[in-house]
């Protein structure tokens, strides 16, 4: 699949940051779900709408430079910072705001939180 579409991911209730436009490319095709219990519905929806490839980050690993967006269910400290620090666009299911030792890396152009499936719309 080479024709990727874009989606806009907006912050949900109580969330922070964004909106982010996610467009996978053949170089960055992966929608990484770094969440408990398999691929999260938000990651699944982003993959379906864009044509990107959803994968479960806790089951398999992929190089950072292949990831179009990381979907996380972070409680506010670790994963919220790790992906933005590597300049990977990051969508947090939980409504977190920048905090923790990595807060400096969490910026509105890289991070959006409190996201539910309805906050993912075709651009």
């Amino acid at each position: 699949m080479s024709d990727y579409k874009s989606v806009t991911v907006s912050k949900g209730r109580g969330g922070w940051g964004g909106p982010l436009t996610i467009t996978p490319t053949s170089e960055k095709p992966l929608i990484a779900s770094i969440t408990g219990g398999g691929i999260h519905p938000v990651a699944q929806r982003i993959a379906e709408l864009t044509g990107g490839e959803a994968f479960d980050g806790f089951k398999s690993s992929a190089p950072f430079d292949k990831i179009a967006v990381a979907v996380i269910d972070c409680g506010g400290t670790a994963r919220v910072g790790v992906y933005p620090m590597k300049k990977v666009k990051t969508v947090d299911i939980h409504a977190t705001s920048p905090a923790g030792p990595l807060a400096q890396f969490i910026t509105e152009d890289l991070f959006v939180s409190g996201v539910k499936t309805e906050d993912v719309q075709e651009s």
Partner: protein, 133 residues
């Protein structure tokens, strides 16, 4: 610290300590993830393999990290899911009685220990504690 009326709800052995863990300790923060979590998390995390995973921590429980025992003061909403699904825990030495972030496990202010491979990470609950069976 362990009395006969204490049950262990989580027990694990440290398998790897990331390079940035010590820097995070300076922020009063100790982060755990299960073995097999994504490689990008390894630098900031203590990796471990659980042998007992019955429940996440509750206020009043004791967290044992290496030789240090810490009373749990507060627990955020997503802590239990994080720990049981991902082996993930954020231990914060912030002295709060209300968790500031949903992933926080709050303990008294002060130094947290730098763990080493082979150390244990354990959560115990006393039988008389509120919420116990």
């Amino acid at each position: 610290m362990t009395s006969p009326a204490t049950t262990t709800v989580y027990e694990s052995v440290v398998t790897q300590v990331g390079e940035q863990v010590e820097a995070f300790l300076a922020h009063g923060l100790l982060i755990f993830f299960a073995d097999g979590s994504p490689a990008e998390l390894h630098d900031i995390s203590v990796l471990h393999t659980a042998s007992t995973a019955v429940d996440g921590p509750r206020p009043g429980d004791t967290v044992h990290v290496g030789d240090t025992s810490l009373e749990v003061l507060a627990v955020g909403d997503v802590v239990g899911d994080n720990l049981l699904n991902l082996g993930h825990l954020d231990l914060k030495a912030d002295g709060r009685s209300q968790a500031k972030l949903p992933g926080d496990v709050c303990v008294r202010k002060g130094d947290l220990p730098l763990l080493a491979v082979g150390d244990t990470f354990r959560i115990t609950r006393s039988a008389g504690e509120e919420g116990s069976p």
